[in-house]
């Protein structure tokens, strides 16, 4: 039964299996779930960034219409605090983070009480009646001020806001090629030192978070529906925090409306809702309001960076030295202290050099906690090195592209090149990717356009900026994670099963929330097993349906989850071959497999895999000792990270009178290895680049000195709309990863990692003739205008 679908499926622009429901309003997001008898939860949050709770009077709220219960940190019982899973070394200071704070509020939005009522409105109304007797203290929201003598201390038990250092020389499991220090003492080398501040960001997945807890009280079984990227990890953390064994706890991520890291978290509200359901033996629901989410959902980035480069006078990079101060906010959430470390091996970019040093200091402040935001550590690294490469080019009076080309790790070093930071890059073609970009861009024409814009004396000048980047993703080899002190592993799992009627059921341990894995994974299975794309059903995001998995983050869906799937498919094929040989009365070696058929070489005798699936299920005539069923599970632990790369260029026009910036072109060539579905790859890049442009030009969470979030809702924090964003010119190079049989690398974070320095470098380049050499981000019109005025004076 040969398929009529195009082969191979890998590489086809298949339309998504996910779409028909989502475009007709049949999506099942958490807020669409209603359970009979369900109660509504509303969280009472601190209006102060730093204040002691002297007392909480819940009596009025308890008397309000529809209210069933009101709890505080003293009255709602948990088995333990929220889980922090990445104690980066023995220096880390990890305060107990209770779902409801017991003693003090440490950021505006810190949960202090919860109201449980019959309706959403009654819960919210009654929350107004909870009276907290506050003793406010001075707050600290700036990283550097938090480290200064006399600063308010966020966690008194530590006596400092320093949450711990991570020093490459001491803490990296792999050494650098050489320490950087001596290169900066060498009088023959040119050095630069750059300081950058990366603003705090608010992720803004379009679906606010939400939790519904249902239960079978008689069995002590709970189902948690959560808008999460990590149903499996969340189950484990909820077991620890709420004291319900994993076997009695089912976590479901139904349709999830975007994540970008913000739903890679063990949040207070998940634990609070589960604890209430356990206490009241009633189902409960909590839905985050957007403005509530601005303080209650994790923030990203926020760090001070100092990067130094040493190079020869003719532009050969010799050493990179980096020091970071990173904002934790008020608590360490699930992987907060490790986020800067995800960039630790990347601050030399794709450039070959000899010396490397890196360290960071984590700092508590009275802000919402930070944690993973799309790219997590790697956009920060790319920003520093790519801005610094432009600064070095200016110092050496070199073209920024010439400097990059001169220093790329060359193709003859691959595969598996151990770079200056000690990790081994699987494969890349940095030079070829960049050459393709320059051709698409028509670089000489852009420089000519720039010269003309300057020569004509007008107020609008053109600039071009580059970002030639690499990342490590497909997170991650478990042994490496152990060396980095992350508590869990980095494997993922898949189960492939032929159903009696001939369809294939795939269970994947990754938990997509927009990435289209239901489609791309079906393409992989269709090719590998010779079945129709339409006959493959991919299930995910439910710990009961898919018991094994470690979820979606770090561009790992395909590079880990997809490879697990492929490995499970190999087991299926091996068993099917044995069964086919039994049926066809031949040796397994005499069989060739193509298009779903095992054929005896040189004959027309064949057995189709669907028929073998039925035969294995019926089990009427199996070889002696063969287990019934054509199903296989594989847990795949990647032997290395995967190493996507790309070369991006942004062309801007800056109005020197108003400071406004217009992106004229955004051109990018990316290399994520083999592409399963180019539509999906491009879609990930479009969205990622847009978030990167937003970091560069628009987005910034601002606090006042008392710790109030000034950009506290979607009207005051600028998530870009369609008019702010250009169309993109994309192409790719394909350098397969030698690490896995699919040759894939991952693309989920690529655009966000790449874009910010390309945009800022373009703005600086546009104004370089005026003497502008630095630009804070986001490069708002006011900042641009001020930079021009400062350069003039």
């Amino acid at each position: 039964m040969a398929t009529t679908e195009p082969k191979p499926q890998i590489g086809q622009r298949r339309l998504r299996k996910e779409d028909p429901e989502l475009i007709t309003g049949q999506g099942r997001y958490v807020d669409n779930i209603t359970v009979p008898g369900m109660l509504w939860v509303h969280v009472v949050r601190s209006p102060y960034a730093h204040a002691t709770i002297k007392g909480i009077d819940t009596s009025k709220a308890e008397q309000a219409e529809g209210v069933v219960a009101v709890y505080t940190g003293e009255t709602l019982e948990f088995a333990g605090p929220l889980v922090m899973a990445w104690p980066i070394n023995d220096q880390v200071k990890n305060p107990a983070h209770h779902p409801l704070t017991k003693d003090k509020a440490r950021y505006v939005g810190d949960p202090v009480a919860v109201v449980v009522a019959d309706t959403r409105a009654n819960a919210k109304d009654a929350a107004e009646l909870v009276e907290v007797d506050w003793d406010p203290h001075p707050a600290v929201t700036d990283i550097k001020e938090a480290l200064a003598d006399g600063a308010p201390i966020v966690h008194e038990e530590f006596g400092t806001n320093n949450a711990g250092d991570w020093i490459f020389e001491r803490d990296s499991p792999v050494p650098p090629r050489n320490p950087a220090g001596p290169y900066f003492e060498d009088p023959d080398l040119v050095t630069i030192k750059e300081d950058y501040y990366l603003a705090r960001l608010i992720p803004n997945a379009m679906e606010p978070r939400g939790v519904v807890v249902d239960l079978t009280a008689s069995m002590g079984e709970y189902t948690v529906y959560s808008s999460t990227q990590i149903p499996h990890i969340l189950r484990t953390t909820l077991t620890i925090t709420c004291g319900i064994p994993e076997a009695k706890l089912r976590v479901v991520a139904p349709d999830v409306g975007g994540g970008f890291g913000s739903k890679l978290e063990a949040y207070p509200e998940d634990a609070i809702c589960l604890a209430i359901a356990k206490t009241l033996r009633r189902p409960v629901k909590w839905i985050e309001e957007r403005s509530e989410g601005y303080v209650a959902t994790l923030h990203g980035r926020e760090m001070y960076q100092t990067i130094e480069l040493a190079a020869t006078k003719d532009g050969v990079l010799k050493a990179v030295r980096v020091n970071l101060l990173a904002s934790m906010g008020a608590y360490l959430r699930i992987i907060t202290p490790g986020i800067p470390m995800l960039g630790a091996w990347l601050y030399a970019g794709p450039y070959d050099c000899e010396g490397y040093d890196f360290q960071y200091t984590n700092v508590f402040t009275n802000n919402t906690f930070t944690d993973a935001y799309r790219g997590a550590g790697r956009p920060e690294a790319t920003y520093a090195i790519e801005r610094a490469m432009d600064a070095l080019a200016r110092k050496l009076d070199m073209d920024p592209i010439d400097l990059r080309m001169k220093n790329f790790i060359t193709n003859d070093k691959f595969p598996n090149y151990t770079m200056v930071t000690g990790l081994t890059i699987d494969s890349a073609n940095y030079t070829g990717t960049t050459e393709k970009l320059l051709e698409m861009l028509d670089y000489p024409a852009v420089r000519k356009q720039q010269a003309e814009s300057r020569a004509n004396g007008g107020t609008k000048v053109i600039g071009v900026g580059f970002s030639t980047w690499l990342e490590m993703c497909g997170i991650a080899p478990s042994r490496v994670l152990a060396a980095l002190k992350y508590i869990a592993g980095g494997w993922d799992a898949a189960t492939v099963e032929f159903m009696p009627t001939g369809t294939v059921r795939v269970l994947t341990g990754v938990s997509p929330h927009g990435q289209g894995n239901v489609t791309s994974m079906a393409q992989i299975v269709a090719d590998q097993l010779g079945v129709d794309f339409e006959d493959v059903e991919v299930l995910h995001g439910d710990s009961q349906v898919v018991p094994l998995g470690l979820d979606t983050y770090g561009s790992r869906g395909l590079a880990v989850g997809g490879v697990a799937l492929y490995k499970a498919g190999e087991k299926i094929l091996a068993k099917a071959r044995t069964l086919a040989a039994h049926q066809l009365e031949c040796s397994e070696d005499d069989l060739e497999f193509a298009g779903g058929d095992f054929t005896v070489k040189g004959t027309d005798k064949s057995a189709n895999i669907k028929g073998l699936g039925f035969a294995a299920w019926a089990a009427h005539d199996l070889p002696d000792g063969m287990e019934p069923g054509l199903t296989a599970t594989h847990l795949y632990d990647p032997p290395n990270f995967s190493w996507p790369n790309g070369s991006h260029a942004c062309v801007v026009e800056v109005d020197t009178e108003t400071g406004s910036i217009d992106i004229l072109r955004y051109v990018a060539v990316d290399d994520c290895g083999v592409q399963i579905n180019p539509n999906i790859v491009e879609g990930q890049l479009h969205g990622g680049i847009t978030q990167g442009i937003a970091e560069a030009l628009f987005e910034e969470a601002l606090y006042d000195t008392e710790g109030n979030l000034l950009t506290g809702n979607m009207a005051s924090y600028m998530v870009p709309g369609a008019p702010e964003i250009p169309s993109f010119e994309l192409d790719s190079t394909v350098t397969p990863s030698p690490t896995n049989p699919l040759g894939v690398k991952g693309v989920g974070e690529a655009g966000t990692i790449a874009a910010p320095p390309a945009v800022i470098n373009a703005v600086v380049d546009a104004l370089s003739h005026l003497g502008v050499t630095n630009m804070e981000r986001p490069a708002t019109p006011e900042r641009v205008w001020r930079a021009i005025q400062e350069a003039k004076s």
């Binding site: 475009i23 379009m206 349709d255 975007g258 964003i725």
Partner: protein
């Protein structure tokens, strides 16, 4: 509590509403039409866009009582006899959605945009959709989908 009569996707409903009830919650929680999503509380994101008497409105910014006697179309009412609206078709064909959360509102806004301007330029599409935010697609493929629907 008062009563309003509202026609939603061609069906007439009499529903009890409080004066403060927003149309979006009446649609979602009283009528069970959960295709219309809520993405913010400042009328910024457009996820809740529906048609009120044929015009795109943010249903989080309309009181349910304002819909009394009016006609509402939601994403569930866009396909006719199981045949997808050309805009829905264009969204899937051009990969104009990822997580799908903004999609119902984006599609309703885009349909309304073409009602007003059947052959918009790229710039007109981008500005016409400025009240609808998407965090996944970077708008590139949404623009392509609207262009395709316009020429369908």
């Amino acid at each position: 509590m008062g009563q309003i009569t509202v026609t939603v996707n061609g069906h007439r409903h009499q529903v009890d509403v409080e004066p403060r009830d927003l149309l979006v919650y009446t649609l979602r929680e009283t009528l069970g039409l959960t295709g219309t999503n809520v993405g913010c509380d400042t009328s910024s994101c457009g996820a809740c866009t529906v048609h009120l008497n044929g015009e795109a409105v943010k249903s989080c910014t309309v009181l349910a009582v304002q819909a009394d006697g009016q006609e509402v179309t939601t994403i569930e009412g866009l396909a006719v006899n199981g045949e997808m609206h050309p805009m829905q078709q264009a969204f899937t064909e051009h990969h104009a959605l990822q997580c799908g959360y903004c999609t119902p509102g984006m599609i309703m806004a885009a349909v309304s945009l073409l009602d007003d301007n059947p052959s918009p330029s790229e710039d007109e599409i981008r500005h016409g959709l400025e009240g609808n935010l998407c965090r996944c697609t970077g708008y590139h493929n949404i623009v392509k989908a609207v262009q395709a629907a316009a020429s369908a």
